[in-house]
Symmetry: C2
């Protein structure tokens, strides 16, 4: 079908190069929790300089989503590689009295010098499976916590939501319309990126085109129609101004009446060399209206004009409309996508798993963690589908494909960033390999994640040493 | 009580001055929906240059929140006043092929030249009541839609959430811990601002201190405790490094055991001139644990040591803990605050209410709007409490205090921005004046919002002219 208003991401110009961008204050070293600075002061003053291993993972999931999708690694690696404190920030911190002079000295040369292992973006994953592991001096690995979670949690949450919507839409065109109700600018931009990775065709957000090369789509708003005395006149004006891949919004007053006006207008447009790409419906009973609009268009010989709908869309509504047989070719999805409205956040944590060579474990009630460096090994069935994962100690040899890879060494990326389309292709392959129940978004579908024998033994050993410490 | 780790916002240095900040790419003109550019092209090419009036309002609310709180106006006015297209953005747009050369010419001089009326920040408001009204050439007022909603919707949503939490906490210390799971950097920062307006004492987010002057608070994380071989040793090290307003996290292994270690340590700290301010509990049965920790501390003569809790806090949990009599002095609130986890977004709209002097009205099914410029008039009862609002045509004389004020004229602010503390004081007065049912967060509490007679008449008149147009 025709893609409304698409500007292919391969068109010139390419996304802006990172190094040429103005400095973003949200990339500030100060975008952190005060306790990170308090603890860093403790580490520096007490000489706590050992190597720490921290891992970030989701704790548990509600019935939906039945799976997560890793996203945000590129932004996380940018953050780590570019980490430094500017002279202006040092001055501000110093004047604020929030930290000691010794910490100010330490921060002047502060960099991330550690190693990073991670799931590639687009990978399907499950609770307890680490998305990222940092191995670095404790002060660096601990500092990274706040922004690392802020970047990885949100994009992984949105990628999982977008993946569910993509599965429900069964190949229909999907466009992110969610910037306005996203939680701020960065949420809107990163949601455009994460949803494109997970299978959306693109976004309405122009800046996501420039920053990430995501294809952009756009139609028109009700105010355009209302600013003309007559709906048909508004359609003609818009068609003259935007003759390519034209999509008209037809529900400002009466949807079927709007469709009839489009049908009457189409021959005139054709005579001017303008081909109507589609119509958009944004309100009302979209099942019934899409059918009657399809009929009106077909009777006017406009079989090739696509029907695009928007307004409160999410995976359930899309699934129901398509299940009922509504003749809809594409969906604009806004708020439910960019806010992950049915699950605003994941229960997730970034935890110390090893310090100075000794595995560590948090035992707070209800928040116990698995100690040590971990790997996830995935078994693939004879049908090519995912059959089950094993969460294992990183040095435990188990069957299966290891999902966690080295991506940064001594603070430097090990290889250039993959392109967004490479990541998107990986995500598509992952979704294709999901077990059928998860693909159907069946809330009862369970995916087996076992705990490897060596990891269980390590946990028992760590508990014994904590008990010993508590008694000592 | 002692405020853990507080650095008063009146301390030097003041928040960074806006003009000295590096340019933020998220303030880009391109942070918009592609359809805004498509429609602008239509307006420019068709000579649609009349004055438009657009208003932003919430459509309806679920039982909770029973009210909203206006927030984000300062950022919205900054956005409008600074609106322009940089040469780099013009070049990129031009090369992208997304817009016509005529629009590029128009954009080179694009500014916001209109008038703005708005509810002051901190004002309590209800569905259908406009938070902001723009009166400007249609191309400007329409373009503003995406970022204006993005800024005002989010902060107003979070301010309403924070206000509910503040009402539930009955004066206990509240600190925003939510940056890590906020939806990106801007969400974390703006949530720190919005929650401070609504009554939080401050935030853990250091950058919110620098950007907005919000007081910052911080304690320690489990990883700090785990990185030492012994919990008591970790407490001592942290106390040496951060002797002022010391708060120790005591639930890494066993909370009561942690409290006993604190009790044993306190005399030694006192001998070193270090006064323990509080302990933090982050897991387990917080009602039972706060009582046993209180007992342990009291028996050690540490009555002045505060108990601060965190971990999955929201207005319901806080209300239940205090209702049960748990001896808790303060709460760290994270995810539920910064993601507004029970209501990820408001049903809200930015709609054309008048164009070229003629009132307009959208009549899409289920999304009908009130036409024309509106005012909200609030009646205050003899007890000083809010008694009811009237949504009226702006030129209708009605009893009550008008809530919508002029704030910008011809693209320039009418007065300097109020300080954050002035806004916060206004919000506190608003919450104090809520009817008792809304203050108690009673889901059955209803607040009367009437529609003024002249507005009803205007709507009927607008309908007749639309019907006439449809027939014509």
């Amino acid at each position: 079908m025709l893609l409304p208003g698409e500007v292919s991401h391969s068109d010139p110009p390419p996304p802006a190069q990172r190094k040429c961008r103005p400095m973003n204050p949200y990339e500030s070293f100060l975008l952190t929790d005060l306790y990170q600075l308090a603890m860093m002061e403790g580490y520096v003053e007490e000489g706590v300089t050992g190597t720490a291993v921290l891992e970030f993972f989701a704790r548990k999931l509600p019935p939906q989503p039945g799976f997560l999708m890793a996203a945000g690694l590129e932004q996380a690696l940018d953050f780590l590689q570019d980490l430094r404190v500017t002279p202006e920030e040092l001055n501000w911190l110093s004047a604020s009295g929030k930290v000691s002079p010794a910490l100010i000295d330490y921060l002047a040369e502060f960099r991330f010098t550690g190693d990073v292992h991670a799931m590639p973006e687009g990978k399907v994953l499950f609770p307890d499976e680490p998305i990222i592991r940092l191995t670095a001096p404790l002060s660096e690995a601990q500092y990274a916590e706040t922004r690392l979670i802020n970047l990885l949690h949100f994009q992984s949450l949105i990628a999982a939501k977008a993946a569910r919507i993509a599965l429900a839409a069964q190949g229909r065109l999907l466009v992110d319309f969610g910037l306005r109700r996203a939680h701020g600018a960065e949420a809107g931009l990163l949601a455009a990126r994460a949803s494109y990775i997970a299978g959306f065709a693109g976004t309405a957000t122009v800046l996501a085109g420039r920053e990430f090369g995501v294809p952009t789509f756009g139609t028109m708003a009700h105010a355009f129609v209302q600013s003309f005395d007559d709906e048909a006149q508004a359609f003609q004006a818009f068609a003259r101004a935007r003759p390519e891949k034209l999509v008209l919004l037809i529900d400002t007053y009466d949807t079927e009446e709007g469709a009839r006006k489009v049908a009457a207008l189409a021959p005139k447009l054709r005579a001017q060399g303008i081909t109507l790409g589609g119509v958009r419906l944004d309100s009302g009973d979209l099942d019934a209206l899409s059918r009657s609009v399809r009929r009106i268009l077909d009777e006017a010989g406009l079989q090739e004009v696509a029907i695009f709908v928007s307004g409160g869309m999410g995976e359930t509504k899309i699934g129901n409309l398509l299940q009922a047989g509504a003749p809809i070719d594409g969906f604009g999805v806004g708020t439910s996508l960019t806010t992950s409205s049915d699950l605003a956040a994941l229960d997730c944590a970034y935890k110390l798993e090893e310090y100075a060579g000794i595995p560590r474990r948090k035992r707070s009630e209800g928040k116990t963690t698995w100690p040590g460096r971990k790997q996830v090994l995935r078994r693939i069935g004879a049908d090519g589908r995912m059959a089950g994962d094993v969460l294992s100690a990183a040095d435990d040899a188990q069957d299966g494909v290891p999902l966690i890879e080295p991506v940064m060494k001594d603070g430097k990326r090990l290889r250039p960033a993959p392109t967004l389309d490479e990541i998107r292709a990986h995500a598509a392959a992952q979704l294709a390999a999901l077990p059928e129940g998860l693909r159907r978004l069946d809330p009862a579908a369970a995916y087996p994640v076992e705990i490897g024998a060596r990891l269980k033994a390590l946990a028992a050993e760590t508990d014994r040493s904590i008990d010993h410490m508590e008694e000592g």
